[in-house]
């Protein structure tokens, strides 16, 4: 009987685990092996040499953009969530959930037209005379545009996670501080932030890795020339040159970048 029941549950586990094994872990390992193979199938380190030669700058560029976006997201997210936690504002909280439900491609396209040289943002800023549209600055197709788009999309997640962490701090800890005259900012920095530091660290890791791996947003608002995000390099390497070896080597580099963060994340999640 017992064995029959186990078999019952096991039946459902097979396709579930199977799909993930075949379509995620097999390709994952395959890309790792593929990165050490030349086109003719010999073992080689050439792919990595190529990556080091061509893409070192891009990797740094990617890490820089992810770090910068994360800084924006954390800075705004912490202050905003502190405000929302202390005073509460249902409308603002709701508004900041919207980006979570806007698809990445839509964010990419919207930011593309919003931040374009003659896009809405520049038009508006020009109306109040801050810039001259004859020679407009372009945020789209630049590192700043990608950072802003990533920050916009991730802000919703940040607010969700940070506010969740802040909400789990019991009200009395804030009242004890308010009792001595601590305002919203003091309550945020002295009480909320240190008391939810570990949750915030996990949230930061999550967002950092997802920004490192971002594809559709930089695909739509990244520039055609100059440095690229690594995922774009991987995509172009495959679609335009059919060079899976180098693409996989670059992929492995991106795994390594993410894995530092991933290990930390896994440790925190599995500890529970």
């Amino acid at each position: 009987m017992r064995r029959l029941e186990n078999a019952f549950w096991f039946t459902f586990a097979v396709p579930t685990v199977g799909i993930v094994l075949v379509l995620f872990f097999a390709p994952f390992l395959y890309s790792a092996f593929g990165s050490f193979q030349s086109k003719s199938g010999q073992l080689t380190l050439d792919n990595y040499a190529l990556v080091a030669r061509l893409y070192t700058k891009d990797v740094l560029y990617t890490v820089g953009i992810a770090a910068f976006s994360l800084a924006i997201v954390l800075f705004i997210g912490i202050l905003l969530c502190g405000y929302l936690r202390v005073y509460g504002n249902k409308l603002v909280e709701f508004l900041f959930k919207i980006p979570l439900f806007v698809p990445f491609v839509v964010v990419g396209h919207a930011m593309r037209v919003f931040l374009a040289p003659h896009g809405i943002l520049n038009s508006m800023v020009a109306q109040i005379g801050l810039i001259n549209l004859d020679n407009p600055p372009s945020l789209a197709y630049s590192w700043l545009g990608i950072s802003l788009a990533l920050a916009w999309k991730n802000m919703a997640m940040a607010v969700l996670l940070i506010l969740g962490a802040f909400r789990s701090v019991h009200e009395t800890y804030l009242e004890a501080a308010r009792n001595f005259g601590a305002g919203a900012i003091r309550q945020t920095l002295d009480v909320l932030l240190p008391m939810s530091a570990s949750s915030l660290a996990v949230a930061s890791v999550l967002m950092f890795t997802s920004m490192l791996a971002s594809f559709s947003i930089p695909l739509m608002i990244g520039g055609g020339k100059g440095a690229q995000m690594t995922m774009i390099d991987v995509y172009y390497r495959i679609t335009y040159q059919g060079d899976y070896g180098a693409a996989n080597a670059l992929g492995v580099v991106s795994y390594l970048l993410a894995s530092g963060a991933a290990i930390y994340y896994l440790r925190t999640v599995t500890r529970k």
Binding site: W9, I19, V20, F24, L95, V102, H109, A247
Partner: protein
């Protein structure tokens, strides 16, 4: 009631703050709305010279409708298959000391932590080997990788939140494990199951990376359609598509707002 001299100032600050928030959130999205009705818009005008629904009419009669139908079909299939797979697995993981439990949990965590694109690119090679490249089953399978990983975690959480004593009471009265699951745990899990199937549906509808790599050029869902239009500088078409693409998400957001559980969503934000 006394009139507080500071109240006016505070109200002003509050309104300014709200205006800023509205601009941050809706600024980028407003450009979609404007472009969708711009029939003629040349630099240096701040707003379109000619506004109308011309492009809406054109777009709604075009391939877009086919992409829309296709996307809904794929999303429905993905959601049903995902539910069928993950409800029992989530239950088993929540209740039993399954063999290699931690390994399985890890299996479903790693895809969330690593970049998808290089993996999917190699998965595409694999799918083409089995003649599944650029076919609907291929796209369904690649969507399921993401949705399974996500749904297993939600289902496990949902079943963990149901006190095990409820089922033990039923088993104690003579129900079999499976019967206890069907008559006790499953009905109690319905709200969680509904919430997660909506999220899986939306995920499939919005999925881009996998669909682009595996589906192109024959399986074109709405996100890929929009990408093609945007890259081809058909900004009106792309903007209208983008607006249409946002509708399901916005509906879901409003629907979920009442019983939005942060832990379910936090995973959604990544995929």
């Amino acid at each position: 009631m006394k009139v507080d001299p500071g109240a006016m100032g505070r109200a002003t600050v509050k309104i300014a703050f709200l205006a800023l928030v509205l601009f941050i959130i809706f600024g980028p999205l407003s450009s979609l709305a404007i472009w969708s009705v711009a029939e003629k818009w040349y630099w240096p005008y701040a707003l379109p010279q000619q506004v109308g629904l011309f492009y809406w009419g054109r777009v709604l009669g075009s391939d877009l409708m086919r992409s829309l139908q296709l996307g809904f079909f794929i999303a429905t299939v993905v959601t049903m298959l995902t539910l069928l797979c993950t409800v029992p697995v989530g239950y088993a993981l929540a209740r039993f000391d399954v063999l290699f439990k931690s390994v399985i949990m890890m299996l479903f965590l790693l895809p969330q932590a690593f970049p998808q694109l290089p993996v999917f690119a190699n998965a595409a090679v694999l799918l083409y080997k089995f003649d599944l490249g650029a076919t609907i089953p291929g796209v369904v399978l690649i969507h399921m990788v993401g949705s399974l990983v996500y749904a297993v975690w939600i289902m496990t959480a949902v079943f963990k939140s149901i006190p095990v004593e409820m089922e033990e009471a039923a088993i104690n009265l003579g129900a079999s494990r499976i019967r206890a699951f069907l008559s006790i745990a499953l009905p109690l899990a319905v709200p969680g199951i509904v919430a997660s199937s909506l999220l899986v549906f939306l995920y499939s509808l919005d999925e881009f990376t996998g669909t682009l790599l595996i589906g192109a050029p024959f399986v074109v869902t709405l996100p890929v359609f929009m990408y093609n239009a945007s890259m081809g500088y058909e900004l009106q078409v792309a903007s209208i598509t983008a607006l249409l693409l946002m509708i399901p998400g916005m509906v879901l957001l409003v629907l979920l707002e009442r019983y939005l559980k942060a832990e379910y969503l936090s995973m959604f934000g990544r995929i």
